[in-house]
Structures are given as structure tokens and as C-alpha cells.
């Protein structure tokens, strides 16, 4: 029983960052119809930006986080502007190949610049974990959960409560008619890609300090993000949020009760099961962005 409680707490903490990853990916797919193969690289970039901001810039952990998120936002905007904007209207295969290429460039670039040795990000949290009855949890992980939930809430508010969000939802539902309403659709695409990228970077910046930072860390994260998005239904933000927690639960229980060696296999078992039994995702086809 105590072990189960511990697994559930771990699920919450891991699930928050998984949800961020999934929401970012599903947002970009839903509004732009682009499968973002740079998502993992952006996750890695977020972690390295966090590392740089704390060590080289000496920003301090709590300032470094928004700086890393902002960095992801800008990087996403640049990728959209340079690569996706000229490709608008070309077929999905071309766009996918270009994005796969961009992902490789980003990953190899980090390897080239930072080398292959894993880095760890110093944190201001005490090493001793917090004990809550039978459950123990590190302060860092608690902070990660809080920050992830805050960012999910912020994303929801942005999409449902702001003028930009209104334009994003309109573009998602009918981009031609959105243009007739005066929405600058190209700007919405750039903003969407930038926001989705910043969420991937945020997930990396949050999990980087928990584990270690290395150039290939994004590969597995990207596959997991795809699992989450398929689980929740393509383009479905709430589905992605819930999907993030479901994947985390499956990983935790799989690692705890089956074998820790199968932790990362759980996501792919889920993808296979969902594609066989409910190919549109657990939560039906995207009813709406938001």
C-alpha cells in the first residue's frame, strides 16, 4: 500500500512534465497540421538553456527557468519563420522530412557545442526529501510538479481567455474563415509553434535538473510525447494533459510491479494498444483546441 502511494506521487510529478510535452506537440499538430519532429530537440534545448542560465549566466534557478522557456519560445519562432513558413501549402511528407532534418541538426549541434558528457544542473533545494507519512518526495520534484501545473493552467488561460487564444481556436476550426475575420493566420502559426516549443523547452528545463542533461535526452522524450498525443487524440489539449498522466502512471506501475527495465517500454505498449483498439485516441477526435 505504501509502495502504491509512493508510485502515485511519482506519477503526479512525472505526469505534469509529460503533459507539458504532449500539450505542446498536440497544439502544433492541431492548429498547423505539422508533425513536429524537433519537439525532442527543443526539450533538450530547454534543458541546456537551463544549465547555461544557472552555470554560465549565474541567473539563479528560479530566474533560469523562465529564461529557458523564453529561449524555447524564440527558437520555436525562428524554426517556424525560417523552415515552416516557406513550406506552407507543400505536402506533409516534405514538411516532415524538413522537420526531421532540423531535429537532427539541433541534436548534433548540442553534441558539437557541449560534448557528449552529461551535465547536471545545480539546484537550490535541500537534499533531504520531504516526508509525508509513508511517502517521501524531494523538494525539487515538488517544485517541478508545481511549475508544470502552473504552466498547464497558463496555457489553458491563454487559449480560452485571451484574444490570441480566440484567434488560435478560430484558425484551428477554419483557417480561411479566420482570415476573413481579420486574423493574421501566418502570425498565429508562428505564435502557435513558438508556444508549443516553449512548452517542450519548459519540460526539458524542469526535468533536466531532476536527471542529467545530455544531447540525446530528447529522443526518448519525443517518442513519449507522440505516445501521449496519440493517447489523448490528435489536436486534443485536454486529452494530451490527461494522456501525460496516464503514461506516467503506466510507467510508474510498470517499473514498480513488473520490472524497472520495462519502464520506457510502457509508452509503446500503450501506443500499440490504443492504435489497435481506439485509433482516434481515448478521448474521441479533437472536439476543440482548449
Amino acid at each position: 500500500m505504501d509502495q502504491l502511494l509512493q508510485h502515485l506521487v511519482n506519477t503526479l510529478i512525472l505526469g505534469g512534465t509529460y503533459a507539458l510535452l504532449g500539450i505542446g506537440l498536440t497544439l502544433i499538430f492541431g492548429i498547423m497540421n505539422v508533425v513536429n519532429f524537433t519537439h525532442g530537440a527543443l526539450y533538450t534545448m530547454g534543458a541546456y538553456l537551463m544549465y547555461l542560465a544557472v552555470t554560465a549566466l549565474g541567473l539563479g534557478f528560479f530566474l533560469a527557468l523562465p529564461a529557458a522557456i523564453l529561449g524555447g519560445l524564440l527558437l520555436g519562432a525562428v524554426i517556424e519563420f525560417v523552415l515552416l513558413r516557406p513550406l506552407r501549402g507543400s505536402d506533409i511528407d516534405t514538411t516532415m522530412l524538413v522537420m526531421i532534418g532540423a531535429g537532427i541538426v539541433l541534436q548534433s549541434g548540442t553534441l558539437w557545442i557541449f560534448g557528449g558528457v552529461a551535465k547536471s544542473v545545480p539546484t537550490p533545494f535541500p537534499d533531504a526529501p520531504l516526508h509525508l507519512g509513508p511517502v517521501s518526495v524531494s523538494w525539487l520534484r515538488l517544485f517541478v510538479l508545481g511549475a508544470a501545473l502552473a504552466l498547464i493552467g497558463l496555457t489553458y488561460a491563454l487559449i480560452n481567455r485571451t484574444r490570441l487564444g480566440l484567434a488560435m481556436r478560430a484558425t484551428f476550426q477554419d483557417h480561411d474563415t479566420a482570415a476573413l475575420m481579420g486574423v493574421n493566420v501566418r502570425l498565429i502559426y508562428t505564435a502557435t509553434f513558438a508556444i508549443g516549443s516553449s512548452l517542450a523547452a519548459a519540460a526539458g528545463a524542469l526535468l533536466g535538473p531532476v536527471y542529467v542533461v545530455f544531447p540525446q535526452m530528447g529522443g526518448l522524450a519525443e517518442l513519449k510525447a507522440f505516445a501521449i498525443v496519440i493517447l489523448g487524440g490528435l489536436g486534443n489539449i485536454t486529452g494530451a494533459a490527461i494522456g501525460g498522466f496516464i503514461l506516467a502512471l503506466a510507467e510508474e506501475l510498470g517499473a514498480g510491479y513488473i520490472s524497472s527495465g520495462y519502464r520506457d517500454a510502457m509508452g509503446f505498449l500503450i501506443i500499440i494498444a490504443v492504435l489497435v483498439f481506439r485509433p482516434t485516441g481515448l478521448f474521441a477526435r479533437a472536439e476543440r483546441i482548449g
Binding site: 480566440l166 484567434a167 476573413l180 475575420m181 481579420g182 486574423v183 472536439e287
Partner: protein, 234 residues
């Protein structure tokens, strides 16, 4: 007010408009009638910037708007009420109307226009929090019209507003369009329902395979033997 000269437009290898020229004077209700595929919708889509013209010019109030982006065209005062209503189905009625006023920043003016639209269409007011996709076809058309008016346009382009609506609602819809024009907004109406459009309008053009083949008052076109033969059932 609006003048189109020698407009050529197409999709891929298909040329939809082969040198179309029309004029819309301020305050008029002008109808553009013709069969399915004659190029009526393409004309409207070219005006509002959704389809780039291959050649020809579009001027509005003396300004060249040929090939301008949709939001620029809207900014000059042209609203487009698209074919098939195209309301945002998963958004509420209120959000759809808010999108109509998307480029406006005058809060008080928007509130006044919103009150006006709700006054004109009380059904929309009753259902303001309901998703637009759950409305009936007629209500969706009223919402599309209301949404177009929310930009406070000088000219409204209506694309097949009668499509798929019950006859009594079609009648009401045409009277709404006449009222809009009488209140001072210029209207360019595209319709397959030629008789109703010709009865309603001040001036009309007949479009066949990408070219204007007849122009004149609605009454003149109704009396025209070719129009009677081909469009009004003899």
C-alpha cells in the same frame, strides 16, 4: 465604390474567371447571379484576398486592393459572409460574434453593434452561450450575417446566403439583406436563386463560365429572354 476590371483567376490549370469586370456603386444592392461553377464564389474570394488574381485590378474607394491580404481588405471596410455559413462550430455564438469584431478596438462601439445584432436576431441572444454548431441552418446563417456586420463594414459580400435553408427562412434572410442595404451598407450578393436575387437587387450581373454576359437592373434581367430561358425556368 468597388470596381473590378478584367479579373482573371484560377485554381491550378482551371481558369475560373476569364476577364470579369463589374462595378458596385455606394448604397446599392448588387446581385451576381449564374449557375453553379460560373465563378461567382471565386469573384468574392478574389475581392477579399482568399484567392490571388492572375491579372486584372480590384479597386475599392479609389484604392487598389488587388491581391491584398484578407485582413487588409477587411480593414478597408469589406466584410465577407462566406458560402456554407462557415460559423466556428465549436465556439459559442458570442465568441463567433467577437471574432467578427476581431480587428476593432473600440469597446463601446463593439458593445453597441453587438446589442444591435442581438436586437435584430433575438434567437442569437437567447443562444449566446451555445456552441454555434448546435444551431439550426437558419440560425447559423443569421449568425454568419451578424458576424459579418460586427466589423462595421462599408460593403458586405454575401455568398449564397439561401443555400440549404427552408423557403420561409430564405424569405426572411433576403429581407434582412435588403434591410442592411437600406440602412446604408453596400451589398454584393452572389446567388444561385436567380429570381429572388434579381427581384431584390438594384443592379445585377449575369456570370457564365467566368465572364459577365448580361448587366442591368434586376427587372431588366428578369425580362431578358436568355435569362428567362436559362435561369428562371422559361
Amino acid at each position: 465604390m468597388l470596381e473590378i476590371r478584367d479579373l482573371v483567376c484560377g485554381y491550378g490549370h482551371v481558369t475560373a474567371l476569364k476577364g470579369l469586370s463589374i462595378r458596385v456603386e455606394a448604397g446599392q444592392l448588387v446581385a451576381l447571379v449564374g449557375a453553379n461553377g460560373a465563378g461567382k464564389s471565386t469573384t468574392l474570394r478574389a475581392i477579399s484576398g482568399l484567392v490571388p488574381p492572375r491579372s486584372g485590378t480590384i479597386t475599392f474607394e479609389g484604392r487598389d486592393i488587388t491581391g491584398a491580404e484578407p485582413r487588409r481588405v477587411l480593414g478597408h471596410g469589406i466584410a465577407h459572409c462566406p458560402e456554407g455559413r462557415r460559423v466556428f462550430p465549436q465556439m459559442s455564438v458570442a465568441e463567433n460574434l467577437a471574432l467578427g469584431a476581431y480587428r476593432r478596438r473600440d469597446g463601446a462601439g463593439i458593445a453597441a453593434d453587438l446589442a444591435h445584432v442581438y436586437g435584430e436576431f433575438p434567437r442569437l441572444a437567447e443562444r449566446r452561450h451555445q456552441a454555434a454548431g448546435t444551431l439550426s441552418g437558419g440560425e447559423q446563417q443569421m449568425l454568419a450575417i451578424g458576424r459579418a456586420l460586427m466589423s462595421r463594414p462599408k460593403l458586405v459580400l454575401f455568398d449564397e446566403p439561401s443555400l440549404g435553408l427552408a423557403p420561409n427562412i430564405v424569405e426572411r434572410m433576403f429581407s434582412v439583406i435588403r434591410t442592411i442595404c437600406d440602412a446604408g451598407t453596400t451589398v454584393l450578393l452572389v446567388e444561385q436563386n436567380a429570381f429572388a436575387a434579381l427581384e431584390l437587387c438594384d443592379h445585377a450581373y449575369l456570370l457564365e463560365t467566368g465572364r459577365i454576359v448580361r448587366a442591368g437592373s434586376g427587372a431588366a434581367l428578369i425580362a431578358d429572354p436568355h435569362v428567362r430561358e436559362a435561369y428562371l425556368g422559361g
